[in-house]
């Protein structure tokens, strides 16, 4: 059967898949809900400051059995554009 499936040890696949599944089981948050939360967050923040929506990362981090939502939102350097353009960054 093999070479296609043999590339990665199956135990590693099991662990990686379980890591994701357990995050969602524990928080009751589906991947789709996490995406829509991310969109909402980007929209809200964009109303106040200019950010690059593509650079935003939002993940669930865990420490033992407790989990945290960690957002990393790089800010654009002020200079080439001042002032806010409402509604622009929602994409």
């Amino acid at each position: 059967m093999g070479f296609l499936f043999r590339r990665k040890k199956s135990a590693n696949s099991a662990k990686e898949r379980l890591q994701l599944v357990l995050i969602h089981d524990r928080t009751d948050l589906t991947p789709a809900e996490l995406e829509s939360l991310k969109d909402d967050l980007i929209q809200t923040i964009s109303r106040h400051i200019d950010i690059d929506p593509m650079a935003v990362t939002i993940n669930v981090a865990h420490d033992g059995r407790s989990q945290r939502l960690v957002a990393d939102i790089p800010l654009r350097t002020v200079g080439h554009r001042r002032g806010r353009e409402p509604g622009r960054a929602a994409g």
Binding site: K9, S10, A11, N12, A14, K15, R17, L18, Q19, V21, L22, D25, R26, H62, G64, R65
Partner: protein, 261 residues
Amino acid sequence: MTAKVVTVASGKGGVGKTTSVANIAVALASRGQKVTCIDGDIGLRNLDVILGLENRIVYDLVDVIEGRCRLRQAMIRDKRLPDLYLIPAAQTRDKTAISPSDMVRLCDELRQEVDWIIIDSPAGIERGFKNAIAAADRVLVMTNPEVSAVRDADRVIGILDAEEKGPAALVINRLDPAMVKRGDMLSVEDVLDLLAVELIGIVPEDENVIVASNRGQPLALEGKTKAGQAFQNIARRLMGEQVPFLELETQNLFQRLLGRK
């Protein structure tokens, strides 16, 4: 005497709860402890056959709770060990025949009589499981090194935390060191990373488990097999002893031997 109540639960079915309850109870009793095990799997009675006591049942758990017999009358004494008893499950009833508070009351009465009460939980996270953990001082969560069993164990651990029955102690059953070695089975470290709980036992895959269940003679009665030894070690850890983990040791030894070649 004030017994400690230990429940064995798992979420997923068939991971080895009943096998473990029988062996841990036998192991504790072989160390001079007075032990009663309770089959909490009402409607799917099994602990009796694993212990080889199926022919001696007169009364069961539901009979005690509904007052048809006294507690003592439902406790079947195992003749191989001086102080091992079984309270069997009812076979013709279901889990709704008893409630969590019934279990608390029963265990409170029993606590005066023995050192340990070991309860076999049914699979799942519903009524039968809730009954089984109601009186527990300590819950052992069983899993196999396998995706669905680990996932379900995580659910159970979460529920135990939420109901303040935690922290759970984990037993990893049916570990196959050769499969772990070639990367085709989650290792003990992997499972502990994922579940983030305390480990209390590692039981290897061992065909003697099936031989023992055929005979109705739990492995821990002799303690010569690998799995039997692993159950003895769990019993010792429950009693507060520091016992090194069997399988981890042999794995390290194996690695050392390979390394020297």
